[in-house]
């Protein structure tokens, strides 16, 4: 398909996409009556970027998507696509297409007619419609079902038709509203890979809404994490995992240990366990830290402590098998409970010695109601 060709080079740095900005959302807020759904959201989407809006249900992620598509109007703020102000345009004038959560295929039209819909209403010549529809169906491997009604094909197939129906219009931006949530786990993983490679191939920017953090990590160039209508952090999957900005982000993405630290003269002491302490270049006061379970190692009791690493003895509470790794819960002196990831079958004793590097401890902003 003659979509805008763009290199599939992986993007980006956290601050801004390296490519030119396609869509910019400026101070968008939305409330339904007294219910505030979005507060002052600002973010930019680059050309060809795969941006995931991640959040729990009720975080406002779908509302944000609907504002971009034009199905909801923002209470305040603006949406720009290049030089064009988008938020005052009706949805049918925006060069944005959507893949709906339940696909929203037209039940009275065949697969082929569904895909042709956008081109027909735009008044494209029939010859062009036919060839572009055939190409789009080819791309999502649905040619064999061209004449079927949507009710006669499976959920995964409907998904692909919905994708073809949107992409055939060559939008500048494709919005996807939890498109994989209705599929079973295996098909879902398969579609994640397909969707990602399709996005690279066509080079169209995708805004993908999901509540599934794993899905977000696998597919995205950047993740925007929403919480109660506020943008917690926007960064690459690696960065959002290794440098979470807030306690909420650290807990939402993967597992973590939150440590309440008391900093005095360049030394951190963990409030719940006085024996845990390490030097840090942080101003004095109360500081919250995130320590990932895999950043902590179990070491042999006989081995002397490694210089520069923090060492602590703890008592095993619980062990959970996760395939290649195990998550164990241990209690340190003072009652601090830590989660530690160890290789499976490491032969954990009742008493374990733990070590971690102060460099792997990340300072996070507290999230109200989450610490």
């Amino acid at each position: 398909m003659a979509f805008i060709t763009s290199s599939a080079a992986s993007i980006t740095t956290a601050e801004s996409p390296t490519k030119s900005t396609l869509l910019s959302i400026r101070n968008v807020a939305k409330s339904f009556g007294k219910n505030v759904v979005l507060r002052e959201i600002s973010l930019e989407i680059g050309e060809g970027e795969f941006l995931t809006i991640l959040g729990e249900s009720g975080s406002g992620k779908t509302t944000l998507l609907r504002i971009i598509a034009g199905f909801e109007s923002a209470s305040s703020g603006e949406v720009w696509m290049g030089e064009e102000r988008l938020d005052r345009q009706p949805p049918y004038r925006r060069r944005v297409n959507t893949v709906f959560q339940h696909y929203a295929l037209f039940p009275h039209l065949t697969v082929e007619q569904n895909v042709a819909y956008g081109l027909r209403v735009a008044g494209r010549p029939e010859a062009e419609v036919a060839s572009r529809v055939a190409e789009a169906l080819e791309k999502v491997r649905m040619t064999a079902h061209a004449k079927s009604k949507p009710s006669k094909i499976s959920g995964g197939q409907q998904q692909r038709v919905a994708l073809a129906r949107a992409l055939v219009n060559r939008p500048r931006l494709l919005l996807l509203d939890e498109p994989l949530s209705a599929l079973d786990a295996n098909l879902r993983r398969q579609m994640q890979v397909e969707l990602k490679s399709l996005q690279r191939e066509v080079g169209i920017a995708f805004v993908f809404v999901t509540h599934d953090q794993e899905e977000a990590m696998v597919m995205s160039d950047r993740i925007a994490l929403l919480r109660s209508g506020e943008l917690e952090q926007i960064a690459t999957p690696r960065e959002i995992y290794s440098q979470p900005a807030t306690a909420y982000v650290a807990q939402f993405i993967g597992h973590t240990n939150l440590l309440q630290g008391d900093v005095r003269q360049g030394v951190v002491r963990v409030a719940q366990s006085e024996s845990l302490s390490w030097p840090a270049q942080v101003p004095d006061g109360q500081v919250l830290f995130s320590l990932r379970p895999e950043s902590i190692q179990v070491v042999a009791a006989a081995r002397p402590g490694t210089p520069g690493r923090v060492r602590v003895r703890s008592r095993l509470l619980q062990q959970a098998f996760h395939g290649a790794t195990e998550l164990i819960r241990v209690e340190c002196p003072g009652g601090l409970v830590l989660t530690v990831r160890t290789p499976s079958g490491a032969g954990i004793q009742k008493e374990v010695d733990l070590e971690f590097s102060p460099a792997s401890v990340v300072q996070v902003r507290p999230s109200p109601g989450r610490n």
Partner: protein, 282 residues
């Protein structure tokens, strides 16, 4: 699950009811339609098709049947033309007032049919509301006679009475259209007008067919409106059937005409069910 005795007790009354009040009368009517009446007004039990031939040979019968169908067709069209936009507006744009407006559409159905027909008589008569108003504003000098005792009056009254019957199934069909289909259409670049003709209207066709069937069948068999407002030129086939069973005392001919109408209605219902099935996608 249930004992045989229980099943018998539960199913017997409705079966008995259907037999006594539906099956027996239909069988009787069927028999009557082949018999005839002697000069002395006695029923002659001779089996032939004379009554059916009469229906198609005597001008007044088949002409009245055709006129009834033409009146019913006009009522159907007007009911749809009035009912569809109303249903569409209510379903898509009424917002919070939806329930209230819906009730307002339904309320006339609670008023006796006879009262509504008489109301039109009062409005359309030569000393009626309409003529008084027209003369008062000097649009006309004399009362307009065609307003009452004419097919016009019958069509107007029946349209008023049966529009809610056309409205209801259309409204139900529109309410069943998932709103994300409308959003999907807009998303794909279709204007509201394009969306209506390409998505909303096709998906509401089963409702339109059901509504049209209601309006047509109900007005085809109507006899009160033509009796009260039709005058000699507005007579419908049911009026003939009524007089054949009454003053004219020709039950056999009345039965034959009734059976023909029944056949017509049943085939219409059958056709409309086929159409609805063809256009429904759930």
């Amino acid at each position: 699950m249930f004992s045989r005795a229980y099943k018998t007790i539960v199913t017997a009354p409705p079966l008995l009811w259907a037999t006594v009040f539906l099956l027996v009368p239909y069988v009787l009517m069927f028999c009557y339609s082949f018999w005839s009446v002697s000069a002395a007004q006695a029923i002659i039990h001779s089996w032939d098709l004379a009554n059916y031939k009469k229906l198609f040979q005597v001008d007044v019968y088949w002409q009245t049947l055709l006129r009834s169908m033409w009146i019913a067709a006009r009522v159907t069209i007007f009911s749809l033309v009035l009912g569809y936009p109303l249903a569409y507006f209510l379903s898509f744009y009424a917002g919070k007032r939806k329930d209230l407006l819906y009730q307002l559409v339904i309320i006339p159905l609670w008023v006796s049919y006879l009262v509504r027909a008489y109301a039109w008589k009062t409005i359309l008569g030569s000393d009626g509301v309409m003529n008084t108003l027209l003369q008062y504003v000097h649009l006309t000098k004399h009362p307009l006679e065609f307003l009452l005792y004419s097919p016009f009056a019958v069509v107007l009254t029946l349209t008023h009475i049966y529009t809610p019957f056309a409205f209801l199934p259309i409204y139900a069909a529109l309410e069943h259209i998932p709103r994300n289909l409308v959003e999907a259409s807009h998303d794909l670049g279709a204007t509201p007008v394009q969306t209506f003709w390409r998505v909303i209207f096709p998906l509401s066709i089963p409702g339109v067919v059901a509504g049209a069937t209601f309006a047509f069948v109900l007005s085809l068999g109507d006899f009160l409106a033509p009796l009260l407002l039709g005058g000699p030129s507005g007579i419908m086939i049911s009026n003939i059937v009524v007089s054949l069973f009454g003053a004219a005392y020709n039950w056999p001919l009345g039965a034959a005409i009734s059976l023909c109408m029944l056949l017509l209605v049943v085939s219409l219902l059958f056709l409309s069910e086929r159409l609805e099935k063809k256009w429904s996608f759930s």
